[in-house]
């Protein structure tokens, strides 16, 4: 299969990222000659175990944690499920969960199905967000009760990039003896995180969001936090997650974390500048366009812009002609018939929600690409508005 990656202008990094060439390099031996099982007694397998431990240390380093607090999983979704179900099993008498209306489906749908999964009835408080996608901490405080087993709040939103005050929220939960989980798949590697200084009990990472391959994730579990495994089986991962390790991907994720640490500065300077240039350019050159999400409390790589009176899928398919890759929160692309739950929770009007486009950049993007997108977008939107019965030029 030839994907012509060189031709593509990839601005969909919150969906998935390019596997860094450095990551591929360190993975290759484990896909070829170093095929031993880390659990084996012989040296051939045992040395592979050493590589897994090195990766564990690299992940821990990026998020300011201890290597013993790192458990490798298959994906962010598994990490999220493990954390939340573990907390509910550790405190079976507590039947309340606090989360938000804008969580990723991995947490959203899990929380909608807790009763079926645990065999108990649970109450779920889903915190509302403001029109800029931010949370009201007073409402959060009110939601915390003696019956609350766990809080699960994403660190950064995948659609808008809006960052929640996780540090503060975790501390508020801790004061009340409530466990705190954060789905940080979009935040890790993009903003500095030091878990040793925070009251976060569980944190989820997904490899493919930070230039590691798909099919590997991490669950951070703070030392001393009660834990019940989700996948029982062998003694791998210290008994926290059965199943033979996905060695090559784990090693790749370790390298990706080290790279992310090196690139964090660039992510928050050069990438942010590119993002801002793109965002300002779009808002300026295209009438009736608006930013979705808080302007500053936001990831440096993400911008979500709505173009009123046109539909997202149609925009994406026109962009596709120029090999520009992005995402939309429109109904036709969400897999359901309604626009993104995140934009609806923020109260974005339908006129705008259906025409929302998310651009998410990475360190691989360059200025010329931003300029190209800025050149192509205004005629695309204008062309579609020509067709739209709601569009009136004024």
């Amino acid at each position: 299969m030839n994907c012509d990656a060189e031709k593509v202008i990839y601005m969909d990094n919150n969906a998935t990222t390019r596997v860094a060439p450095e990551v591929v390099d360190v993975m290759m031996p484990f896909l070829t000659e170093c095929y031993g099982n880390p659990s084996s007694m012989h040296n051939f397998g045992g040395q592979v175990g050493g590589a897994v431990e090195k990766a564990r240390a690299q992940v821990a380093e990026l998020i300011g944690a201890d290597p013993t607090e790192i458990t490798f999983t298959s994906c962010g979704t598994e990490s999220d499920s493990t954390a939340i179900i573990s907390a509910l099993q550790a405190f079976p008498e507590k039947r309340h969960v606090v989360t938000t209306r804008v969580e990723h489906p991995a947490v959203k749908h899990l929380c909608e199905n807790l009763d079926r999964l645990t065999g108990h009835k649970h109450r779920v408080t889903r915190l509302q967000v403001d029109s800029d996608g931010t949370l009201d901490l007073a409402k959060y405080e009110e939601a915390l009760t003696e019956d609350t087993a766990i809080v699960s709040v994403m660190w950064a939103n995948n659609e808008t990039g809006v960052i929640f005050p996780v540090e503060k929220m975790a501390a508020m939960a801790k004061e009340r003896g409530i466990l705190f989980h954060t789905d940080a798949v979009q935040a890790v590697g993009k903003i500095p995180i030091t878990l040793s200084e925070l009251d976060v009990d569980f944190l989820s990472i997904s490899g493919h969001k930070l230039h590691a391959p798909k099919g590997v994730g991490v669950l951070y579990v703070k030392r001393g936090t009660p834990f019940v495994p989700f996948l029982s089986g062998g003694h791998q991962e210290n008994g926290r997650r059965g199943g033979t390790e996905n060695v090559a991907s784990i090693v790749g994720l370790g390298r990706a974390c080290a790279l992310a640490q090196e690139m964090m500065g660039e992510e928050n300077t050069r990438v942010r500048v590119l993002r801002d240039r793109l965002e300002e350019g779009l808002l300026k050159s295209i009438p009736k366009s608006m930013l979705n999400g808080h302007k500053t409390d936001r990831l440096p790589n993400t911008t979500n812009v709505s173009f009123e009176f046109v539909e997202g899928e149609a925009i994406l398919l026109h962009m596709n002609r120029y090999n520009i890759c992005a995402s939309s929160g429109s109904a036709c692309t969400s897999g359901s018939l309604e626009p993104s739950h995140v934009l609806r929770a923020m109260g974005v009007p339908f006129t705008a929600a259906h025409g929302s486009i998310r651009f998410s950049l990475s360190v691989y993007n360059v200025e010329e690409e931003v300029d190209f997108v800025l050149k192509k977008m205004p005629p695309i939107i204008a062309e579609l508005r020509e067709l739209s019965p709601f569009w009136k030029e004024d």
Partner: protein, 278 residues
């Protein structure tokens, strides 16, 4: 990513007949911004009731735009009576097919056409009079029943694909299931082609009966672990032998009369009597 045919892509990227005709004879305005797609169709109809011009404006995804473009091409040159007979399946077919989740785009085209014709004739559309079943997308029971009948829908998921009903909060799912059940029960089963009754020879009967058994009845019984064999045909008497789970099933006689006999009467000869060979 949707799998769109080349025809859909062509009509999406280069839509035909965009705009509004001046002094239209009929206007069809369907859908809304909230629903995520909307279509305004304007028709120019001459004194011979022939559509001489059709133009559209569409807010929606690629398949909505392509369906609109296709619709205007299809109806231009048709008489109003001819245009009235255009179905959503015709629109989808014109485009070489649509992904099943996108069939509602072709339905929107058909609805706009009907609305424009109704506007031209100065009558009120029956679907506007139905009772709203799906509040998220404002779909009436009339529209749902019609889609079930016309496109031979068999599940709530299919209803959603064609009409969008049930695609929002999902609260109307039970209502849709009820509508589906009642509508299916109402649809008369069309006989496959009854060769002149009473003129069939025994051999013809046997052949026909075997055919229906193989095609419909056996697969149905096998689902429950049962089976059936044709033993003999004597005049109108059809002797069969039940096998498998049917032999010990208390309901086997009901199955024989209510299901097997009914099917054979519908599809072979309406005087047949099915009996179990002892």
């Amino acid at each position: 990513m949707w799998e769109y045919t080349e025809k859909v892509q062509e009509h999406f990227l280069h839509p035909q007949n965009v705009g509004e005709v001046e002094n239209p004879s009929g206007v069809g305005d369907v859908g809304s911004l909230a629903c995520g797609d909307a279509l305004k169709l304007t028709l120019k109809i001459d004194e011979n009731e022939r559509i001489v011009d059709a133009k559209f404006k569409t807010f929606g995804c690629a398949s909505a735009i392509a369906s609109s473009s296709a619709l205007t091409i299809m109806v231009t040159g048709m008489t109003v009576d001819e245009a009235e007979k255009v179905t959503n399946d015709d629109i989808a077919e014109f485009l070489g097919g649509l992904p099943k989740e996108k069939m509602h785009c072709s339905v929107m085209g058909r609805e706009a056409l009907e609305a424009a014709i109704a506007d031209y004739r100065g009558v009120i559309l029956p679907m506007a009079e139905g009772e709203v079943v799906c509040e998220c997308f404002g779909v009436t029971d009339f529209e749902v029943i019609r889609a079930i009948k016309e496109s031979n829908l068999r599940s709530v998921e299919e209803i959603t694909n064609f009409t969008k009903a049930g695609g929002g909060c999902g609260k109307c799912e039970d209502k849709l299931r009820d509508l589906l059940q009642t509508t299916i029960n109402e649809i008369p089963v069309v006989p496959v082609q009854v060769d002149g009754p009473k003129k069939m020879t025994t051999l013809q009967k046997i052949k026909k009966i075997e055919e229906v058994l193989e095609r419909e009845i056996k697969p149905a019984l096998k689902k429950d672990g049962g089976d059936i064999e044709l033993v003999d045909v004597d005049g109108d008497f059809v002797m069969v032998s039940l096998r498998g789970a049917c032999t010990s099933c208390a309901k086997s006689q009901t199955t024989l009369k209510e299901y097997v006999e009914k099917k054979l009467r519908e599809q072979v000869l309406d005087t047949l009597i099915v009996e179990e060979a002892k």
